[in-house]
């Protein structure tokens, strides 16, 4: 199998994360932004990407987010929904204090307008795009052309329209690749969605040849191990022969995945990579290690995001950003780590730096007092009326920077070592931590080692 250079693409979820990307971009291999973010804040996003390009010369990608307009499975009920509710929000009704109405988030509404039919039609009827909405090949081509034009040209046009930036518009780099529009392969109609995605992929590669076209395969984790549908998709990709493919298996978390799923992911990569670069759109260290068998790269957010469900669970409180342990390639709460200190023999800062982490963030925070490690988990009441204490923004920031620095080290480590060494190190870490309270939470290490060998 062709070995690939492990690449890590940072995904910018919102502009509140731009500081992380700006400060660490030189450590990484590119940036990805969602079309909804681009649509909501074109000026700020264009300025940021231009700056990053000038600063570090790293490529960027725009995720067209077209799947958002398709039907989805409600994570609460397990039922297929086509009401597009997850891209709606409660909005205040002007002139009627206290009254709320449920309507499309403005970024998605504008995006649909820009993409045109069938996206705009779906929004106006408040019903998801169906495979049957793509009524003809001409319709498919026109639709693909609009989506790809958005990805390719919007940023440059934003610069062109502003007198302050107009002079730089021609210097605005094009995306490294354009992602063809794609839909979630919803399980109740898998064959229909696979067929539609294939049409969109073929049309995209046909209508635009100035910038490489990448395809996104977006489905439930069960798709990984569904031999028949996997075969159809893989054969379709080979026929389409895009410049790259991004895999996104919703609900697939490499840390809790079964051996069968992990092996299936490896098999997908091994089968596709001789013909095209394969990326994991939301991957962790396991996928990074798969670069040794052809995975070209992974993407994830600055606060981890190594796994993403197609439809986020609504109504959860802001999650705590946990501390990433590089040797375990996983994140844990601060008390969990501290509770391991005695077993691991960590009683001084020097031992902490040797056994847990010696990144610049940890060295600065822990300094000469091991108790300072608690700063990664600091909590506060964000407002007087808050019922629950939550992590302070400063603590979350420490955890994110620590993660990003460690991810960069992991990427370098993978590049420099053999698959055998990477697998052996997973087993070694599992051995070293087996007597800690985390013993039950690090089963992924043995499974990864097993699959990587």
């Amino acid at each position: 199998m062709p070995e690939a250079d492990a690449n890590v693409i940072l995904r910018l979820g919102s502009h509140s994360e731009k500081e992380y990307v700006e400060k660490t971009i030189k450590q990484f291999d590119g940036v990805m932004v969602g079309a909804n973010l681009l649509q909501a804040t074109p000026g700020a996003t264009a300025t940021l990407l231009f700056k990053l390009s000038k600063q570090a010369g790293r490529p960027y990608y725009v995720d067209p987010m077209t799947y958002a307009f398709g039907s989805y499975v409600d994570p609460d009920t397990g039922r297929v929904r086509s009401d597009l509710d997850w891209i709606k929000s409660d909005k205040k009704v002007k002139g009627k204090p206290g009254k709320l109405t449920r309507d499309f988030k403005s970024s998605y509404a504008k995006l649909a307008e820009t993409f045109g039919p069938p996206y705009s039609t779906a929004v106006s009827r408040s019903k998801a795009v169906e495979p049957g909405d793509f009524t003809s090949d001409q319709f498919v081509e026109d639709s693909c052309r609009r989506v790809l034009a958005f990805e390719a040209d919007l940023l440059r046009n934003v610069f062109r329209q502003d007198p302050v930036t107009a002079g730089f518009a021609d210097q605005f780099p094009a995306p490294t690749a354009l992602l063809a529009p794609y839909f979630y392969i919803e399980q109740s109609r898998m064959a229909d969605w696979i067929a539609l995605n294939r049409r969109l992929a073929l049309a995209s590669t046909a209508v635009r040849n100035d910038i490489p076209i990448h395809i996104v395969v977006c489905g439930h984790r069960d798709l990984l191990t569904n031999a028949a549908h996997a075969r159809t998709i893989i054969d379709g990709l080979k026929e389409c022969n895009p410049a790259g493919v991004w895999l996104w298996f919703s609900r697939f978390d490499e840390h809790v995945a079964s051996l069968q799923e992990l092996r299936a992911l490896r098999a997908w990569v091994e089968e596709l990579s001789p013909q095209m670069p394969v990326y994991n759109m939301h991957g962790s260290y396991f996928s990074l290690a798969l670069s040794k068998v052809g995975m070209a790269g992974i993407a994830h957010g600055v606060g981890y995001g190594e796994q993403k469900d197609v439809v986020p669970v609504i109504g959860q409180s802001t999650p705590t950003v946990q501390y990433y342990v590089r040797s375990l390639h996983a994140k844990f709460s601060v008390p969990q780590i501290i509770r391991c200190f005695t077993t691991l023999g960590v009683t001084t800062p020097e031992q902490f730096f040797r056994i847990i982490c010696d990144c610049v963030i940890c060295k600065n925070i822990v300094g000469k007092d091991l108790n300072n490690f608690s700063q990664f988990g600091e909590i506060h009441y964000s407002r007087p009326s808050a019922k629950r204490a939550s992590q302070t923004p400063a603590a979350a920031k420490r955890c994110r920077y620590h993660f990003l620095l460690n991810r960069s080290k992991e990427r370098d480590y993978v590049r420099a070592n053999t698959l055998r060494t990477i697998a052996d190190d997973c087993n070694t870490a599992a051995d070293e931590w087996r007597r800690t309270i985390l013993a039950q939470s690090i089963g992924h290490l043995r499974e990864w080692a097993d699959v990587l060998r």
Partner: protein, 129 residues
């Protein structure tokens, strides 16, 4: 909660707070005995004692004693030897509303004065507020 709080009180842990924050966790009941200068944490669970033990082990960082409290029917299914090896105690909450201590919690080496004193301060502040 009430039977466990009563049990803690009887043991001398008169200063009490329920749902006491400890990082992103919330200790179901935390108590301090000024007389014995000791602290106790209780993790209440209806059935999943393994999950309770995971939490209890974390609470050892800030508590001299840690107990798992469960309804009588669940408490009988707990691996007491496992809890004993970790110094975690077990309380059975009876239908009558009383508590029966099936395994006393032991002192342990995991408590960090840094966290323990922070929790005691929090308790005292809450009590005086």
């Amino acid at each position: 909660m009430k039977p466990v709080a009563k049990f803690a009180h009887q043991q001398g842990f008169c200063l009490q707070e329920h749902e006491l924050p400890f990082y992103e966790y919330r200790i179901d009941l935390y108590g301090f005995s000024a007389h014995h200068n000791s602290t106790v944490a209780f993790e209440l669970k209806l059935a999943d004692w393994r999950r309770a033990l995971e939490q209890a082990l974390l609470y050892q960082l800030c508590s001299d004693y840690v107990y798992i409290a469960m309804p009588e029917r669940s408490a009988g299914k707990v691996d007491v030897a496992e809890l004993r090896s970790q110094g975690v105690g077990l309380i059975s909450v009876l239908e009558s509303g009383d508590c029966s201590c099936l395994l006393p919690a032991a002192t342990h080496a995991e408590v960090r004065q840094f966290y323990r004193s922070t929790q005691i301060e929090f308790l005292k502040e809450s009590a005086s507020a």
